[in-house]
Symmetry: C2
Subunit: 198 residues, 2 copies
């Protein structure tokens, strides 16, 4: 094999990114080498620039360039409805639906006792104090529909319900456009339990 | 949606990489923002460093830090056997098998008349002059087993055969570890045609 230490270092750095294995890293590495100088500089500077310009909103902990973020300061958003999500990326995903008109609270992860992640490692206290003081009437627990996300939602529901707000959870069921045939049993049974009159 | 122009620019830059769609770009973007300063700098500098240190071998056009590359200057490699590949990345893939002991020639793509890529856009002349002067006895056409790669192999075979060398092609058939059940018909029929006695 031709010795290419600088390319090997590039591949190693790329493989640390989520979802990038050796094959994608090689493919991306070659693309990075063969692109024009202007394009390569635009990519590199977009990384450093995004890192220096973005910060975490001091209220909801979502990603923002201004603190507090635009959602937290927008007077047209419904302050009575608060969606709790695991990561800042989830805020963007929910915003893209244009369905949600409330505000957000980013936990910074989910409970995972086996990996040593407990309530103190998440922004739970901030959530409780927002709910206690901000006139929140409904908390939508929008954690992921997996074991850790469900456990986190149950834990938060227990903490939040005594404080008074309605506590809701995202609906589980078949993805739109899917075929029954390919649905897993757990999803299908959740979809049956949650069936709605039309 | 919270306004995040610097994050949007980062996503746009990442989406230009091969195999990176909007979802992977978002995921990678968030990872790039949340990683430590040292790791981010290592990634950015690995890109610029690999770009400045690597070049194209003046003989075979593969990726190298020294010109000519180590394969071209290695006296233990068999100069009578020349593998023709589409891209520099293919050289690395073949080297990883440790099966091939000849040398390489990178075409820089495949014939694609519909996209306006003809023989003059590939390093065909360089290949013909290497075969004419370098004592090459076998040319292994290792272009991709798809329409463009096959057309390129056929074209090169027609040009090379009158010059005297044996012209061969990579074997087509079932991938190792695959199940017959999941093989497509074309692959299976190639695998039948190319059956070997055991």
């Amino acid at each position: 094999m031709a010795a290419l230490p600088s390319f090997d270092r590039l591949m190693a750095a790329l493989e640390r990114l989520p979802g990038i294995g050796p094959k994608s890293a090689r493919r991306m590495g070659h693309a990075l080498l063969s692109m024009g100088e202007a394009e390569a500089e635009a990519l590199v500077s977009s990384i450093t620039e995004a890192r220096s310009r973005t910060r975490t909103c001091s209220i909801c902990r979502s990603l923002t360039e201004e603190d507090p973020c635009r959602v937290c300061t927008d007077p047209t958003r419904d302050a009575r409805l608060l969606a709790v999500v695991e990561d800042a990326a989830d805020v963007e995903v929910l915003e893209k639906t244009r369905e949600f008109r409330g505000r957000y609270h980013v936990l910074g992860g989910a409970l995972a006792p086996l990996r040593g992640i407990g309530p103190d490692d998440l922004h739970v206290d901030g959530l409780l104090s927002r709910v206690a003081s901000d006139g929140v009437e409904e908390v939508l627990l929008a954690t992921n529909p997996n074991v850790e996300g469900e456990a986190t939602a149950l834990y938060l529901a227990r903490r939040l319900k005594p404080m008074g707000p309605r506590v809701t959870r995202l609906a589980l069921g078949l993805p739109v456009g899917a075929a029954l045939e390919f649905a897993d049993e757990v999803t299908l049974s959740r979809s049956l339990t949650g069936r709605r009159e039309i």
